[in-house]
């Protein structure tokens, strides 16, 4: 899995976003427009435009889906009350659910027909109201919040609530038949948190730090530390999971547009470096150049391992004419040193030179995918040779990675991969979704 983005989803928002999902590959996002109306944009095998859903919002919205085709949206009104609007084939009008909210609301749903809404009250505590066929009154869950809350449910009967507490640390309270106390999870939050869950026992929490960067902390049996996810956030984030190993996060940028970053399995080249001689272009640089180019095809490059090989007899390796499917005895000896690497992983042997002199050579024995790269290769040679390993051939175009005229002559870096080449690479067994 890899974090992808940021991508801009446009608009000019005057609040942080909200997000919900009723099925895999379905996202619904919401925000407040310049005229304080509710805006909606959804993903359903492609992003829609923005539609206005009316209302006059005095806070960020909150949204949740309890089933396929159902969305419930909440916001604080100009009267500080909680207001509710839902989609069930058509959009309802706005329903007043009362209360005196001092923050944006948060909402979670553990089953069809169940909603749990949270907000900070005038006393700084978190207040709770739920729907289970009928709306409850408001109950206080205590605490001293310095931000709006976030809420998520990973299964029936379970709710996790988060907020910034005293000292702006993340605080956490959960319901599992009864309400826990508040626990501090550290950090220094500069925004309200957002929370998502992709499975029972899995929580992901996001917030802007004092550096305006989005930070991430997760629970999968134990709490992680904080991970920086970059960006420059001007609003609190929103987060939702449509299924295992998938998180979609949203936040406002300094251009007031809504931005999107997501965690997902992606087609990935798993690369192992076996070093007989360190190349002139550092391996980290060559791998990054490869990532720069392959990202244009939606492919990730995972640098899995680096191993030093003490094989001086193969350091100037005979590669013959370097023809696809033809290998020399020395190539066979060299490529035998996979040393436990998986069959669909790619191994690059960094050698001093090849005989005859090539920048690199991608011919490899059957079942041992890989290439050799010579010490004097260019910054693009690694990606070029692995391109061959993934099934690409030379082209006569110096704007492209697979130029047969020498990657030293690439005229418009980073070089391109065209759509047909991307398809070939995606179809390779060496680019599994991970």
């Amino acid at each position: 899995m890899t974090w992808l983005g940021w991508e801009s989803l446009g608009s000019t928002l005057t609040s942080g976003p909200a997000a919900s999902s009723w099925a895999p590959r379905r996202l619904d996002t919401f925000g407040r427009a310049a005229d304080n109306t509710l805006l909606h944009k959804w993903f359903d095998n492609g992003w829609s435009g923005w539609e206005s859903l009316g209302g006059i919002l005095a806070s960020e919205p909150a949204a949740v889906s309890w089933d396929h085709g159902r969305i419930d949206v909440f916001a604080r009104g100009t009267d500080s009350a909680l207001w509710h609007k839902w989609y069930d084939g058509d959009w309802s009008g706005w329903e007043n659910l009362g209360g005196v909210l001092m923050s944006a609301p948060a909402v979670a749903s553990w089953a069809a027909g169940r909603l749990d809404v949270f907000a900070r009250g005038a006393d700084g505590a978190v207040w709770h109201k739920w729907y289970d066929g009928d709306w409850s009154g408001w109950e206080s869950l205590g605490g001293t919040l310095t931000s709006a809350p976030a809420a998520v449910s990973w299964s029936a009967g379970r709710i996790d609530v988060f907020a910034a507490g005293p000292s702006n640390a993340l605080v956490h309270k959960w319901y599992d038949g009864a309400w826990s106390g508040w626990e501090s999870l550290g950090g220094v939050l500069a925004s309200a948190p957002a929370a998502s869950s992709w499975a029972h026992g899995r929580l992901d929490v996001f917030a802007a730090g004092t550096d305006a960067v989005m930070w991430h902390k997760w629970y999968d049996g134990a709490w992680s530390g904080w991970e920086s996810l970059g960006g420059v956030l001007t609003t609190a984030p929103a987060a939702v999971s449509w299924g295992p190993n998938r998180i979609d996060t949203f936040a406002g940028g300094i251009d007031s547009a809504m931005w999107h970053k997501w965690w997902a399995p992606v087609p990935t080249v798993r690369l192992h470096a076996k070093v007989l001689t360190a190349p002139t272009v550092p391996i980290t640089t060559a791998v990054q150049r490869m990532r720069d180019v392959y990202a244009g095809c939606g492919l990730a490059v995972q640098h899995v391992s680096t191993e030093i090989l003490n094989l001086p007899a193969l350091n100037d390796v005979d590669v013959g004419q370097c023809l696809l499917g033809q290998t020399t005895a020395e190539q066979n000896q060299l490529f035998a040193h996979r040393n436990g690497v998986g069959p669909n992983d790619v191994v690059v042997y960094f050698v001093r030179s090849t005989v005859p002199p090539f920048n690199g050579c991608a011919s490899h024995p059957p079942g041992r995918p890989g290439a050799v790269v010579a010490q004097g290769a260019t910054q693009w040679t690694l990606g070029h040779e692995i391109g061959h390993v993934l099934g690409l051939f030379h082209v006569n175009d110096n704007n492209r990675l697979m130029t047969g005229n020498g990657t030293a002559n690439i005229t418009n870096p980073p070089p391109d991969l065209v759509a047909t080449e991307c398809t070939t690479m995606h179809n390779s067994p060496l680019t599994p979704d991970i």
């Binding site: 890899t2 970059g230 960006g231 931005w259 001086p312 100037d316």
Partner: protein, 181 residues
């Protein structure tokens, strides 16, 4: 038609040069190959040295004599790998030096290039030399990095806030003590 440097580079610049095409450039390419051997670019110099061997001719011997004296072992390896393409006398003369090279990789490739019917002087030279010692390592080190792909938000600096996803990270302004809830 004179051969230009551009034509020579067109053959040698590819990642995997076609040395059969290099041979077709003919002796008029040799001054350019000599310039490339002297260029200080080890990759191009290696390719040029190898190409000189497949072209052959008197000036090719001079190009390879220079390549065999290069400070870059990879260039000397290329010379050793192609020297067998020269006429026997010239090949033997160059191999007498290359089989005794300071670099074990050059010696290995040069010894492999010695023909079975090598001149007596070359055979005598080989007999003078000690057996190759057991091979030792000469590999360098290399680093690694985390996978990242994606764009930047407006105002975001490349590389900012891209800590690897290691557990135990702290947010800015947070001290380790804050973690104790």
């Amino acid at each position: 038609m004179p051969v230009t440097m551009e034509e020579v580079r067109a053959v040698l610049d590819p990642e995997e040069p076609d040395y059969a095409a290099a041979a077709l450039l003919g002796p008029e390419a040799l001054p350019h190959l000599r310039a490339l051997v002297e260029s200080g670019d080890p990759m191009l110099a290696s390719k040029a040295a190898y190409a000189a061997g497949v072209i052959d001719g008197d000036e090719a011997v001079e190009v390879l004599r220079e390549a065999a004296q290069s400070d870059e072992p990879a260039v000397r390896v290329a010379a050793a790998a192609t020297v067998a393409n020269l006429e026997a006398d010239a090949s033997a003369e160059l191999l007498e030096g290359l089989v005794a090279d300071d670099d074990p990789g050059v010696r290995r490739v040069a010894r492999a290039a010695v023909p079975e019917d090598a001149p007596a002087s070359l055979r005598a030279r080989l007999e003078e030399l000690p057996d190759e010692p057991p091979e030792g390592g000469d590999a360098g080190a290399a680093g690694s990095g985390p996978p990242t792909i994606g764009g930047l938000m407006p105002g975001e600096q490349p590389g900012r806030g891209t800590m690897p996803g290691e557990r135990g990270g702290l947010m800015p302004g947070e001290s380790p003590d804050d973690m104790n809830g």
